[in-house]
């Protein structure tokens, strides 16, 4: 088990790699990655049951990035774990590259499902959890959701079905980073009270500081044992743009390029 300090370094790596890839592409959803950098680090380096040498292992835990625009932060993690050569990311978004703004399960080892259209991922997780139970596997299906995404009605169709089917091996993590494109989620279409809403749909809930690695690990450890019958949600309170002062909770930094002085300043701040 890596130390908290080591995981914090991995979270920093997620952020700096995202900045590097954004410059290659000329655009990227960096601030939506900065909010879930600790979540990705804690999941991939301390929690998920994976074997990068066998990406199709039937009993592996699944991870569905429902907020698919954060894939730019997932790719470096998968490369770092050995799913593919990190050098492949140098061609990020170039014509014919496997790596676009949203993940493609057909072309990228370690990606369990293609995503990009918000609101779909929880249904995918329900299907994977049903399939796991049918196949006699105790794997968990993890789904990373955004808070703005919770306005999509299909999320609640899936939430209703998960508890109805008793899918205790389904775990949703909500990266509640407070911002959508047009402003604060609370202003555009309020998602709160998120935990209470999931609880009303029959889910077990926890709420933690999504940038506190110890709190995240404690939340994972507090999950009921595999094979339970109550789906679980961890609402992670986060800050969109976390780690770069000018981006934090600013709707002006949702997507775009980081070039010239911006690139140097942001990278300097992240590596300080």
């Amino acid at each position: 088990m890596p130390t908290t300090r080591e995981l914090a370094e991995k979270a920093r790596f997620v952020r700096t790699e995202t900045v590097r890839l954004t410059r290659i592409a000329g655009a990227g959803h960096y601030s939506a990655v900065f909010s879930c950098a600790e979540i990705l680090a804690a999941l991939y380096y301390a929690e998920l049951r994976l074997d990068p040498g066998r990406p199709d292992l039937p009993d592996r835990d699944r991870f569905v990035m429902s907020k698919g625009h954060a894939a730019i932060g997932l790719y470096p993690v998968l490369a770092d774990l050995g799913y593919f050569d990190p050098a492949e990311l140098d061609g990020y978004t170039r014509l014919g590259s496997p790596f676009g703004d949203h993940p493609d399960m057909k072309r990228i080892a370690g990606v369990d499902f293609s995503s990009g259209s918000l609101g779909h991922g929880l249904s995918v997780g329900v299907g994977m959890a049903l399939a796991g139970r049918l196949a006699g596997s105790d794997h968990r299906s993890w789904v990373l959701l955004g808070d703005g995404e919770l306005a999509e009605g299909q999320i609640w169709e899936a939430a209703m079905s998960a508890s109805h089917f008793g899918l205790g091996n389904l775990v949703a993590v909500v990266d509640a980073n407070q911002l959508g494109i047009d402003g604060f989620v609370s202003d555009v279409m309020a998602a709160e009270p998120i935990a209470e809403r999931f609880a009303a749909f029959g889910w077990g809930t926890q709420r933690v500081d999504g940038h506190d690695l110890d709190a995240l690990l404690a939340a994972f450890a507090a999950l009921p044992a595999r094979g339970g019958t109550v789906p679980q949600v961890i609402v992670a309170d986060t800050v969109k743009g976390k780690g770069v002062a000018r981006m934090e909770l600013s709707p002006d930094w949702h997507v775009g390029n980081l070039a010239g002085a911006d690139y140097d300043d942001v990278l300097a701040e992240l590596t300080r």
């Binding site: 259209s117 995918v124 299907g127 994977m128 049903l130 049918l134 169709e157 899936a158």
Partner: protein, 341 residues
């Protein structure tokens, strides 16, 4: 996953259509109702990958016949079609072959994006089953009609689009689908389609079935319109007109060779579909012909680009000349000089 008791009602009876006439007006009370659930239940005895999903329509589409035999592999998601399609994709990503069934209108129109993004794009073996397609829901009206599904589904890449002609043909499609590596949209009628195939045919995706040869024109029909097309051919034959009838059950991929042969070896091409003529079978055939530089006498026959009036199914088929006599009349018009291209 709760098993649901099977039902003995036919899908049409379930929705209260006292009128038991099919497209062509023949009494079809003796025709087997949906074999969808029963056939899959048989196949699932020997194939552990098969799961069946529905959205509170198991009594309508007879998915309950599957659920009664394989309750652990039957998933009823309630009235939540989008969740059903994406959930099916999640199961397919884990090695299962899910058949997700609901009305064609809800399957193809409501869930078009889930079908494209979650099933076709990842190339997953999800079988989306759109039943009670076309205007077979009669006076239930536009919300329950799927006249646009052929046009919408066939422009999605990596999605096979096939239409069931009758019970035996549906059995063949279900068997064929098991070995298809990607996603598929299966378009079914309302479960009282008169018999065209007296045995389960051997089908190959992309190869249409020529059911009757002829030289004066070719009627290319699909789904529920194949049987009345055959009736029309019989009527025309009595007048000395020889019509070839092609069952173009494979909409995507289209059997281009069958279309080109029709244009080159017969005197005209008439497409017939229980669908909006904009974007459906007729459009696909027209594209194929023009791409090849062919311009035979040609007509797309189906439902015009309008919302259909209220009426029982059989009355609507007669209204739009989609029954046997109607198709024969349209064929005569096509073959008169005034209508030559």
């Amino acid at each position: 996953m709760t098993p649901t008791q099977g039902t003995t009602q036919s899908p049409a009876e379930f929705f209260g259509f006292k009128d038991s006439r099919s497209v062509d007006g023949t009494d079809t009370r003796a025709v087997p109702a949906f074999v969808f659930g029963a056939e899959l239940a048989e196949l699932a005895d020997h194939d552990e990958r098969i799961v069946v999903l529905t959205a509170d329509l198991g009594r309508s589409n007879r998915a309950t016949d599957f659920g009664a035999r394989h309750p652990e592999r039957f998933v009823n998601v309630g009235i939540a079609e989008k969740n059903m399609i994406t959930l099916a994709a999640g199961m397919a990503a884990s090695g299962f072959v899910p058949f997700a069934a609901t009305f064609g209108s809800f399957a193809a129109l409501l869930c078009a994006e889930q079908i494209r993004t979650d099933c076709a794009y990842p190339n997953l073996p999800v079988r989306v089953v759109g039943h009670h397609s076309g205007m077979s829901m009669g006076f239930y009206g536009t919300s329950h009609h799927s006249l646009e599904d052929l046009g919408m589904m066939r422009c999605i890449a990596d999605l096979a689009v096939v239409c069931a002609t009758d019970a035996n043909h549906l059995r063949a499609l279900l068997r064929l689908s098991l070995d298809h590596p990607g996603a598929m949209y299966l378009r079914l009628g309302r479960g009282r389609d008169p018999e065209v195939y007296d045995v389960v045919p051997e089908l190959e995706l992309g190869r249409a079935e020529t059911l009757r040869d002829g030289s004066d024109l070719t009627i290319i029909a699909t789904g529920s319109e194949v049987h009345p097309a055959l009736q029309a051919a019989t009527e025309l034959a009595a007048e000395g007109l020889s019509a070839r009838v092609v069952d173009m059950w494979t909409i995507s991929p289209l059997d281009r060779q069958a279309v080109l042969d029709a244009a080159r070896t017969t005197g005209g091409v008439l497409t017939v579909e229980e669908a909006n003529v904009t974007g459906g079978l007729g459009s696909a055939v027209a594209e194929c012909l023009l791409d090849a530089g062919l311009a035979p006498r040609f007509r797309r026959h189906g439902v015009p680009d309008e919302h259909v009036p209220v009426g029982p199914p059989a009355a609507l088929y007669a209204h739009y000349r989609l029954d046997g006599p109607g198709i024969a009349a349209v064929a005569r018009e096509l073959l008169t000089k005034e209508n030559a291209a």
